[in-house]
Symmetry: C2
Amino acid sequence: MKRFALKGQICYSAGLDEIRVMRQGYLLCEDGISGGVCLEFPEDWCEAEVRDYGNRIIIPGLTDLHMHAPQYSIRGMGMNLELLEWLNTQIFPEEAKYADLEYAERAYGIFVEDMKRGATTRACIFATLHLPATRILMEKLEQTGLKTMVGKVNMDRNSPDILREQDANRSAEDTVIWLEENLDRYQNVKPILTPRFIPSCTDELMARLKQIQAAYQLPVQSHLSENPGEIGWVQELCPESEFYGDAYDGFGLFGGADCPTIMAHCIHSGEAEQNRMKERGIWIAHCPESNMNLSSGIAPVRDFLNKRIRVGLGSDIAGGSSASIFRTMADAIQVSKLRWRLVDESLKPLTFEEAFYLATKGGGSFFGKVGSFEPGYELDAVVLDDTELKCPNCLTVKQRLERICYLSDERQIVAKYVAGKELFSIN
Amino acid sequence: MKRFALKGQICYSAGLDEIRVMRQGYLLCEDGISGGVCLEFPEDWCEAEVRDYGNRIIIPGLTDLHMHAPQYSIRGMGMNLELLEWLNTQIFPEEAKYADLEYAERAYGIFVEDMKRGATTRACIFATLHLPATRILMEKLEQTGLKTMVGKVNMDRNSPDILREQDANRSAEDTVIWLEENLDRYQNVKPILTPRFIPSCTDELMARLKQIQAAYQLPVQSHLSENPGEIGWVQELCPESEFYGDAYDGFGLFGGADCPTIMAHCIHSGEAEQNRMKERGIWIAHCPESNMNLSSGIAPVRDFLNKRIRVGLGSDIAGGSSASIFRTMADAIQVSKLRWRLVDESLKPLTFEEAFYLATKGGGSFFGKVGSFEPGYELDAVVLDDTELKCPNCLTVKQRLERICYLSDERQIVAKYVAGKELFSIN
């Protein structure tokens, strides 16, 4: 039994409306699991090591519920376009490059190095359709110690020859090969079934993927109701579906107890789609920066929260340019204010407390008991040193945390733990 | 006659729709003025020093048309509020602290150090109402070499006792004392008349300020049409005014050839107000991050551009949290996409080229011939090294510039020139 404690200015979410702060608290860790937070060090822990981070802030690791690793290489560029045109002119040609293993090695190397240094401890990641490149990504991620789910992407229609699987059969067979090889290969990286989105997958492929999902008991990630053009297209492709999400549901790939599912965006989800998501326990990955960059709109997150739909945050690299979930928190708050002002004054803007919840416990819950320091949670922690964000005032810990969300970058991250394991610690 | 040249990957705005790129070009500088950009080094410049920045990108310095220096200390905090409540609970108490010179020394020290390292070369800055603290700010700014305009703030009503001038007379007299002391004191810092906004200034004060403006030939900066609550309040305070801007105009403080004026925000400016701004040659300081943080809305910048109203960008510290005008460029593009999607699909989103124009030539024009490398412009230049923003692809210079706008921070800024003077250069 391995025990240790982190000491410092501890903050974690105690529900949507409250950030619990314990100044100079001890965060207990036993075999990778949180033993809770306390002000007095327990007597029976006297032999456990205490790592004292002083005035530094300790928060749960952040979860990125939606990102595309191969697109990291072109983030922050070509941002004058909307979704479908952007996919065709920027994204598909870039993803096609990952057929080249030297390129994959170099590009994923850069991505993974940056992920290691950021505040994200858990992430759900799209790779490309290529098996060998996806293996490179998974190997590299495994070595970081981050806990991630990675999806080899399925796509057998409506994309250029350079980035499309031959047919449903080939796509399904590749997926099985990939799963047989990787299902239990890694300690930190797990496969997740990843049909790109309805327009990219034939009905036959979706049916095969459902069989695979059921056989291997896989979680699923995909995209939903991001852009009006996309939604209209799905309606044409699946004329029998009641709404976009119903198209996934028709194939059995839309949540439910045996099929934990993340749907990214859900900006234009109407009542019926929201109700179905609630019913099936879908996790929504809210990706506000991406939704600005691609002119997609603003998801009604307040509505989701009111309905008790599960929500977390996603950077959506490279629809989003920044992989920092701190930045995503600020973006989520900011766009919710615009939505309140411009679209619907009945839906109050998100508060800082709520954004912090979404970034930690909200998204973390897709990984199980993750995203909190309450007893029994896997201990993911990020230690933040904001000394260089100079300030003439004495700030409360909570003020400092809010400021970090708006102003910090990877320089403020001085230590990181995932499931109780120290990934790095800078003195 | 002092001549030198900068060599590198040169980019500058050649109008709203075009960023001109000259790879391995020479940017000529003679007595602080640009001699233009060329591919071949002119023979008659053979004795001039060439500073070769290799593959680094050289752009005109950025202009911040609107920021509050005393609020830098509380940026990124207390962001759950709207404008008027935020002013009362966060801003006014903070600004009141600048009565304490030790505090001003410390707080402005931090502000000015950060300004020095950023990409901004010109800025229009609100101080507080305090003369001694404003002197400290101006002294510190002078030493940086940045070219700035600083305003001692006028406010004689509707603010707490701790931050209000006794009456119009006292406010006006203080302003004259301040002007007599500072009008020609500095080479880089010039005074700008700064009535906080209509709700903060009595009619009598506004009338006195007009006399002062005319006597000293001063430029003016203030706020306009930021928030619906504020606009309604102005209508109550000035029932005879046709619209908010007309209230300023009634006092002769709304542009015109003898009264160059910046109005920040202009989010809710209707046709009449926009037409008046056009007529009077007002510069609009567009502050997108602030306008999100304070739930103010999104200014119709496309409309302004169509009408040929002058527009530049502002960080609006601390309505905005980031003092980076690169970040403001990205924000301006992003919110324009949301406005297009959510409010008015007839007003196309801003392009990267347009945002770059606003950040350089658009705002720079308030300072004269500033913001371009065309011959005759004052030579403000920022040299950018994006090596650490690693990328597996060969990028064009323009792609690199776009990426810098989304991803860079002060670490990418390796040299800075203002009016031909090198402020720093990191090897």
